[in-house]
């Protein structure tokens, strides 16, 4: 690896950016945060369903990873490492607060209308036209509601597989589970989602 400071960080692989971070380069740290803030925050947010809490846990994840960057082993994928720490943070939080089944309607700790609004899971990314947006928000809301009802171990598996598009092997590495268990969890999660979505459609 060249020790010269890169002009285009986006062209570098994760491993290369990490090597620059190990040399103490501030820009390399920022690039890692830029690359992973969205997927890490999304995963945690969908696990804990509380925006403020998810921000705190995502911040804690990045601080933990970046402060231990010297101990990163390049034979493993950086994404596996950061998702493992993010997942552990979310699971620990769920265990502490017993939030196994969560509401879509904001944080269970929100006490005022503003707090509920601020912590409600926002569905739709604002790029659709008005009609599409309504339809997508409805479908997205149903799926988010169904995901929220899954057991945490099914939830993180299905999110990593079908929302983040991680391969089974990487999910097994992230969650410290045997490959067969990961496949079983994902299969069961899909079965449950199928049933839950059918129920939600019938209710609608």
């Amino acid at each position: 690896m060249s020790t010269a400071i890169p002009t285009d960080w986006r062209a570098l692989s994760d491993q290369e950016v990490v090597q620059h971070a190990v040399l103490g380069r501030d820009a390399a740290y920022r690039e890692l945060v830029r690359r992973y803030q969205r997927p890490v925050f999304s995963l945690i947010y969908r696990m804990v369903r509380d925006r403020e809490l998810a921000e705190d846990l995502a911040q804690e994840t990045f601080v933990k990873v970046l402060n231990a960057i010297g101990s990163y082993r390049p034979e493993f994928k950086f994404s596996s490492w950061i998702f493992k720490i993010a997942n552990n943070a979310a699971i620990d939080q769920l265990r502490r607060r017993s939030l196994d089944t969560l509401s879509l309607d904001g944080s269970p700790h929100a006490e005022t209308a503003e707090a509920i609004e601020a912590t409600t899971l926002q569905v739709g990314d604002g790029r659709e036209n008005a009609l599409d947006e309504v339809a997508n928000r409805e479908l997205g809301g149903q799926i988010e509601a169904a995901i929220a009802q899954l057991r945490p171990e099914y939830r993180n598996c299905i999110l990593l597989r079908h929302v983040d598009g991680r391969p089974y092997e990487e999910i097994a590495e992230i969650l410290d589970l045997p490959l067969g268990t990961v496949k079983t969890y994902i299969h069961r999660a899909r079965n449950e989602l199928r049933i839950l979505l059918a129920d939600l459609r019938e209710e609608g």
Binding site: V22, L139, V163
Partner: protein, 199 residues
């Protein structure tokens, strides 16, 4: 004639459908099994819907908040050699005395050899009676040990036993084994205990 029940799609076959790489068996099975076909369609719908879910961004200033708590790594430097610990004054004094004694002994020995080389007749005049006395004393001691041994009551029986090879060989081998065992035991006695012994 027996007819086997149709084998429905396995988890792997369902996954293969989702990846767009179904096997021929799975495709032909779905063509004749409405339940599996519906399962494949519903699974595909769920997976498509999951894939279409939006990502979320943390609030503004997230990077700065993270960076405020991060300690940048320091570049790895070549470690400086460890300093040699300074000797105490007492150790230095002892070392000086040892060196002086060594030099003195070396000088005396060298001088002795030099004198002997220069005066061989005188040197032999001193050495010969002394060496003769030492040799005589060693020979007398050996004779005394031999006489003492042959006068022991067990000596006759031992000599008769060793005179027959069939009895002598096992006895010698046994004695050697006993000696080896004793040496091993002695070595173990002298070896210090392991650090974690007794834990």
């Amino acid at each position: 004639m027996t007819t086997s029940a149709p084998l429905h799609l396995t988890t792997e076959e369902l996954d293969a459908f989702l990846l767009g790489t179904p096997s021929l068996r799975a495709v032909s099975h779905c063509a004749t099994c409405p339940a599996c076909d519906r399962l494949v369609q519903q699974d595909a719908l769920v997976v498509r819907a999951l894939g279409a879910l939006p990502s979320f961004d943390p609030g503004p200033g997230f990077v700065e908040r993270v960076m405020a708590d991060v300690h940048l790594a320091r570049p790895l430097a070549v470690p400086a050699p460890a300093p040699i610990p300074a000797r105490s004054a007492r150790a230095q004094s002892a070392r000086r005395h040892l060196v002086a004694a060594g030099v003195l002994l070396g000088t005396a020995t060298t001088a002795g050899f030099a004198w002997a080389a220069a005066n061989p007749a005188d040197a032999l005049g001193f050495a010969t009676p002394a060496l003769r006395e030492v040799g005589s004393a060693l020979w007398l001691s050996l004779q005394a040990i031999a006489a003492n041994t042959t006068e022991q009551p067990w000596f006759g029986a031992l000599r008769d036993t060793l005179a027959v090879p069939a009895r002598a060989v096992p006895l010698v081998v046994g004695a050697a084994a006993l000696y080896a065992a004793a040496l091993t035991g002695f070595k173990r006695l002298l070896t210090g205990p392991a650090i974690d012994a007794g834990r």
